[in-house]
Symmetry: C2
Amino acid sequence: MIQFTKISLLACFCCLMFSKVKSQSNFTIQSPDKKISLSVNQSANKLIIYNLKFGNEFVIENSLVGFELSKPKIKLNTFTWLSTDTSSVNETWKPVWGEVSEIRNQYKKLVVHLKSTSNVLLDLEFRIFNEGLGFRYYFPEQADFKHFIVKNELTQFKLSGNHKTFWIPGDYDTNEYLYNTTLLSEIDATKAANQEKDIALQSLIGKNSIQTPLMMKSKTGLYINIHEAALVNYPVMHLDLDKATLTLTSHLTPDAVGNKAYLQTPFNTPWRVINVSDKAEKILESKMILNLNEPSKITDASWIKPQKFIGMWWEMHVGKSDWFKASGKHGANTENVKKYIDFAAENNFDGVLVEGWNQGWEDWFGNWKEDVFDFVSPYDDYNVNYLSEYAKQKGVKIIMHHETSGSATNYERHIDKAFDFMKNHGMNTVKTGYVGKIIPRGEHHDSQWMVNHYERVAKKAAENQIMVEAHEPAHPTGLHRTYPNWLANEAARGNEFNNAPTLGLRPEHETILPFTRLMGGPMDYTPGFFHFNLIQYDPSRKQKVKTTLTKQLALYVTIYSPLQMAGDFPENFQKYPDAFQFIRDVPVDWDDTKVISAEPGEYVVTARKKKNSEDWYLGSISDENSRKMNFKLDFLKENTEYEATIYKDGPKASWDKNPQDYVIEKMKVNNKSSLSLQMAAGGGFAVSFKKL
Amino acid sequence: MIQFTKISLLACFCCLMFSKVKSQSNFTIQSPDKKISLSVNQSANKLIIYNLKFGNEFVIENSLVGFELSKPKIKLNTFTWLSTDTSSVNETWKPVWGEVSEIRNQYKKLVVHLKSTSNVLLDLEFRIFNEGLGFRYYFPEQADFKHFIVKNELTQFKLSGNHKTFWIPGDYDTNEYLYNTTLLSEIDATKAANQEKDIALQSLIGKNSIQTPLMMKSKTGLYINIHEAALVNYPVMHLDLDKATLTLTSHLTPDAVGNKAYLQTPFNTPWRVINVSDKAEKILESKMILNLNEPSKITDASWIKPQKFIGMWWEMHVGKSDWFKASGKHGANTENVKKYIDFAAENNFDGVLVEGWNQGWEDWFGNWKEDVFDFVSPYDDYNVNYLSEYAKQKGVKIIMHHETSGSATNYERHIDKAFDFMKNHGMNTVKTGYVGKIIPRGEHHDSQWMVNHYERVAKKAAENQIMVEAHEPAHPTGLHRTYPNWLANEAARGNEFNNAPTLGLRPEHETILPFTRLMGGPMDYTPGFFHFNLIQYDPSRKQKVKTTLTKQLALYVTIYSPLQMAGDFPENFQKYPDAFQFIRDVPVDWDDTKVISAEPGEYVVTARKKKNSEDWYLGSISDENSRKMNFKLDFLKENTEYEATIYKDGPKASWDKNPQDYVIEKMKVNNKSSLSLQMAAGGGFAVSFKKL
């Protein structure tokens, strides 16, 4: 499936030459398009220093690398520079599913072979793309250094200015924070975290600690994004900011005893990734993180299918029904689930998510209890055999829900039988959940043990031909390339936070998400709310969904995911059949993607070409401001007529006053056409372009 | 299988009366034989106080009870005394296997119903036997108190004198210490622990913390033993000594974050057990701990068989071969194991233990590595299919070895397949091992999570009709009654420590073990060493086995276990066929047991009647002193002639100079006969009595 087109390895003579001359300790390499350049140097006191430039402008100023170990108790930060290798790669590969059908992987590579003054061999591998830099540490096999324990990673990212920054507080257990937009110097994670009242569990790191993907914009107009790729067998990296020097330093998530990672040579760390461009759209189009992940480990991927689904979920969040049976309004009863199956079948949804189907919800949260669910015991009003058969007849799949309440040990104990149960009932997709304090106690959602757990679940699911989406996992880092059955994750503040009484969401939220959380991979954001005042369900719910209706439609395009929910429940969709048509139509797998226009915190306009089709879909969203967007349709196929169906905010629409005012227009267009469309405050529009 | 003969519940009127009169807060109850009396009182400041007397002598002076919780953050130590129940029980039951065929369970019961001043309902249940006291806490179901987290248990045992004490240092991760014999006031656990150099992992609690079972002897000649029974879903109790008041206080083993137990009502704690007698022999014969455990959960126990086995194990310890293949002297190769199977078949052993059969031993220890073994992948020189078939033909079972290296999470992940592998290869007994730091990291061998793990393994083994013996588990507390497939444990310093270069064992060791570790249940002590100077295997090994040869024989009787290894390897047994005959003959299941004479730290003489037979076996062991033992054979069946075969130390025998000097005599005896036999320094004798 993957086409390798290796261009060249620099001649060995060249490498040897480098390893002999003095200049070995000062090495510069440029991106294929020569716009970005990396320098790696050695200081007089044996430190290794790198910096990164975009044109003549520093993106990362001189920054250090290295480690502190707790076993053996040594630092790896002063080195002998042994030798240097360079090479370049230019290849393309085809993802199993995605935003585009083919991905180019083009970079120049620099490997610096080091030996620490404490006698440990350590390589630094840099890959420089047209979009930025990825680098990682590699511990080769060596005689006297095999097992080791990381106390701290010392990687620095020294920024060149007091950038505008889109950030959430560093936290070992949650990434469900609202984004903050401030200058670097104004970051106060403690203050931001203290304003949050609706996150199930917080483990704040400190005032100056923030999370990746971290989006920044320099005063000179550079867009800079820092994240990690291929987070495997290693804890999540957070970032500590030193405001005096504007330096970010890697802050790894600790385990129960304060260690960070238990490793064994040979070992590659995850990639530290710096995406940079003078165009915001290029950040969103970058495939660097995917390119830095390993190819798919699933040889036969024919059973993996992007999916659109509905589910019994939002009705529980808004208080119409409940997860646990003794509540007296148990949602997952046979009759109710049947209704969802019928609706899914009528509207061509692939799946129906059913939450609250299994015993254990009575005391599932807040007790740090280990044995909560067994994942195979339905409540007695949920006829799993009947519903499995019924769904099968209707051509719909029931999506399994495995809420673990954070008790990962318990989930691992039951997972084999749980997957057997799924297969015996014709289910092949599972939504996992990790709400609550982690067990093993003292571990965190972001610690190495849990990072390994999420991967174990994805691997075991793959062995069972099961697709996974995880809620409350560690932040995604492109592993969906390696495990394409791992379709999506939550790992951010989702649409459900429209139900949160305190901060909720802000209209700008979805314009920041693509530049932050979504850099790591697809999200189950659960768009598609058609009702906005939640008080209609429950008098205590004063909160509102903070978008217009057509913005909810646009999210199916601006937020990429191979697994898209239609979040609202059937009767609410049935009231707006014309608008609902867009959700019925919009695909979840694409041949191509064009980010037409974007600015973090303000707007995103994205067009995508349906898989194996000439049809296109476009989504455009705005923050709290009304905006007119003008754009050409030059992405459409040449010499081809399309019927465009435009779902746009009505003239009186606004997220806070009139979210349900919308207009649907149809017109003929081609690739010479332009559109000029108004978005309401907190609004947006969606367009389908069907080839005539 | 269990016969209940409930005698009576005191009339309810009686209980009500107690709950009305003032004297409810001062309650005394006596053992069935009236020798032991318990008083429970309430102080003016609402504390609950108990004390225990043997005759007129205090065993436990006024001592407090209670808890400190970390969630909710309250203390449970001041109470309203709500009411009092009393009852008595007199019943017998038959163990699946054991030292006796029938066990009497006779006690008086006192339940004090309390409500803490923080409004938590809590019962104190006391059971007073002729042998001592067991008491536990019970948290009934109640409206506003369901899940809770224990920070500390506040149970006190205030001793009445500065007793002679047989103790080991309190340690969360090991109970493999050498026993110390000092006055209570002289205890220094830190000093004792620092002298130990050969224990794989130590997590010392502190200078004044010691372990149970704790054996003491008062100046007045009372033998007092403190332990716990039915340790289920709760951490191991250690004891903190306050030397000023000679008070021991419960010290529970913490988890990774410092909590002790995560509990949910209704919940019973383990029993706190005080065994007391003026005769040392009565302590050893007590069945109180078994009586305080729940009846067997295994309804069909027909597949559970006490076993005698040999194994590939000691040859590894003494350096003759090794566990891991790359050593160049891999023990568990097909040819070598075949030899063991042949020897087992020739000598009527039930099983052959094979250690080092599976891949992973290269780096199994010391790295806190999680994924060490998969428990199903043999080394390539170990032909598991061939050997399974060969063993079957020979009528021998291969005993599986599951060393986890402390990585319990990894074991739980693989255990289903590991048990399937065993069944597919005709194995039905597993030796588990937990050498090394526990994973989940931060947990301890003795913490609640691991206590639950050991029980989970026993339960899952039972579901698979597999018998278990665990090495390096928490101290046993009589759970072999509830899970009779859990045959034995190590959980103490075993015979293998004869190979430890620093402290090793002392000749007194096995005279202390029955009064300490063995109070909780059977041990896989691995007696049966016939070679004593380990230098013969390896010039670096200066250490010696510190017994005589016939003392090694006697251990098969003085140390009770349904799973007895013949520790040495075949060629060493073959050199002493006459002495080896005792090991061939001695059974591992008994109808009756008489402790003829015993003094902790000095000597033990025990006789046991073979299951379903009139034959008896007797073992007698001494400490470092030579002793003559005179005793009657009145335990033999009346009017019956027996052939006694006496295996005794030779005239020149001593543990340090001449351990292999032994004499075998045969004579006819009956229940009117007496024997007078000399034990050498560090020696002993063994006798078989076969009915003629």
